[in-house]
Amino acid sequence: MNDRLAQPFQQPKTREIAERMAEDVKGRSLWADARRRFVANRAAMVSVVVLTLIVLFSLFGQAISEYDIETIDWDVLGNVATAGKPSISNGHYFGFDENGRDLYNRVVQGSRISLAVGVIGALVAVIVGTIYGATAGFIGGRVDSIMMRLVDIFMSIPYMFVLILLLVVAGRSITMIFVGIGLTAWLDMSRIVRGQTLSIKNREFVEAAIAIGVPTWRIIIRHIVPNLLGVVVVYATLLVPQMILTESFISFLGLGVQEPFTSWGALLSEGTKTMNYGTLWHLAFPLFFFVVTIFCFFFIGDGLRDALDPKDR
């Protein structure tokens, strides 16, 4: 840079100019453009970093601890408020829970379940909702109105009741939560995808595909779905925290994940029950991870929407 300034009158080389022009002319794809906007969004980028750290924590957190989620330390039990404080020196980084178990490992394991419910739930919603919505939108006519009326009906069933009923009847387990959440999560997605499909299906490239005789399902998979990706990605990111909230709600009530396993909702519930014994760390650690994660997903979803929304361009 300084060299350049020192010789202000030197003509830039022709080749350099040509190179720079070629660079400018090169078109930016939709995704490159979106990436540029997303990277410029500071809140979203910080959220990506923080979220990555939390995911790593939930996956590999137990590696730096010598304890596990269910061993009870009988010396601490019954005396948690004084003897079970968080401490770096004895390796119980987050202290002990009410039953004398190592809280650090329980938070690691709870984070893993909560994140898994969020991500897998959103993934199921994306796959089912996209295929359902794209099919309804592309075929149109009577099939469309029947399929969407069905979605209307399912949507107006108050699903929290049905979910709890399902968990009680079929037995409380994490699998049942996946099933129950998955049953309803795709409905919104299918509506959004259908609306988007309606606007795509009359474009020339779809007409061309129909004209050369590409079968319907192939048009949906190869031509419609890739063009829906932007909307789907944004909505899926915003769906993950919703799934986490639902699972936490159920686990908070004690109807979700069962001992010895745990999740953020169950940990928060334990923390709430014990807070007037002076063991605030029971509430503080899960609360921190819960709130930070939800925040991160919201900021990332917001950033993606700003980056991918064609209305802004």
Binding site: R149, D152, I153, S156, I157, P158, M160, F161, V162, I164, L165, L166, L167, V168, V169, G171, P241, L245, S248, F249, F252, L253, G254, L255, G265, L268, S269, G271, T272, M275, N276, L280, L283, L287, F290, V291, I294, F295, F298
Partner: protein, 307 residues
């Protein structure tokens, strides 16, 4: 309009039927009959009990009797666990409590949320606007089961101002924290809704005309802009009602207020299927009907969405 009402009702009826049949079916498939216990009853006694509750009838007959009981006598059936208690008793005991803090929460959410959203829109990009947006983002990540413990921690354990739970016949000290915990997320949603609709209204032509006539700002806002910008809040009444009922699961669990949520969660733990089914059908159909009424009301006020 009539067309819209018919179409809306046509969605509500199958929804009600699905809810009814699904809850009934789930209860039928539940492992173990309602009177199975560790010490098995003599076969004759069991047969007598089942005959008393109509459980010896075929399933479709049971379902039909149940529906007839609801429609003709508003009878949601007995509890199989507690002989002296029916679903109707539970409703009579828990519902007034839930309704009390639910309605207060809802009013608080509308008044504060609406005021916040509208003033944020009027002074867009001021500190007030940023404050409102910040509050709405913050409230989104603090659902009621996170708000409630924090409130108890601050106001009961640290400051000692308010009782940490109980209902006490609805004394005001016992209502404050449930209302804050329940209303915050709705307040945030309503603030976000009114802010964006107010911004849209303020940019519309009739407001520009009012400005051109030389009307003062506060007349424009109070007389012309307020009403259309509060319209979307009506469409939010439905979800808010659902939130009130599901929120009461948490509120009753944390504050021990003894509303309908307490009984629902308790029956879930006790596997009192009859009570669960009764409450699911009652609260579920109330939700469906309420949503339907709100939709029709909204279509009546705003003809644009009747399409």
């Amino acid at each position: 309009m009539l067309n819209f009402i018919i179409r809306r009702v046509a969605v509500a009826i199958p929804t009600l039927i699905i809810l009814l049949v699904a809850s009934f079916w789930l209860m039928q498939t539940a492992p173990g009959g309602p009177f199975t216990s560790e010490r098995p009853l003599p076969a004759q006694v069991l047969a007598n009990i089942e005959a008393k509750y109509g459980l010896d009838q075929p399933v479709y007959k049971q379902l039909w009797d149940y529906v007839v009981g609801i429609v003709t006598q508003f009878d949601f059936g007995p509890s199989y666990k507690y002989k002296d208690r029916s679903v109707n008793d539970i409703i009579a005991q828990g519902f007034p409590v839930t309704l009390t803090y639910g309605i207060i929460s809802f009013l608080v959410a509308i008044i504060i949320g609406g005021a916040l959203g509208i003033s944020a829109a009027i002074r867009q990009n001021s500190w007030l606007d940023y404050f409102a947006v910040g509050v709405t983002i913050g409230a989104q990540v603090l659902p009621n089961f996170v708000m409630a413990p924090i409130l108890i921690l601050v106001f009961t354990l640290w400051l000692g101002w308010l009782p940490g739970g109980g209902w006490n016949g609805g004394q005001w000290q016992h209502i404050i924290m449930p209302v804050i915990a329940l209303s915050t997320s709705y307040m945030a949603s309503i603030a976000r809704l009114t802010r964006s609709s107010m911004l849209e209204v303020l940019r519309s032509n009739f407001i520009r005309t009012a400005r051109a006539k030389g009307l003062p700002d506060n007349v424009i806002i109070w007389r012309h802009a307020l009403k259309p910008s509060l319209l979307p809040v009506i469409s939010y009444l439905g979800p808010a009602f659902v939130g009130m009922v599901t929120g009461s699961f948490i509120i009753d669990a944390i504050f021990g207020t003894g509303g309908i949520g307490y009984f629902y969660v308790n029956s879930a733990f006790n596997r009192d299927y009859a009570v669960m089914m009764g409450l699911t059908i009652l609260l579920g159909s109330m939700t469906i009907l309420f949503n339907m009424v709100v939709d029709i009301l909204y279509a009546w006020i705003d003809p644009k969405i009747r399409l």
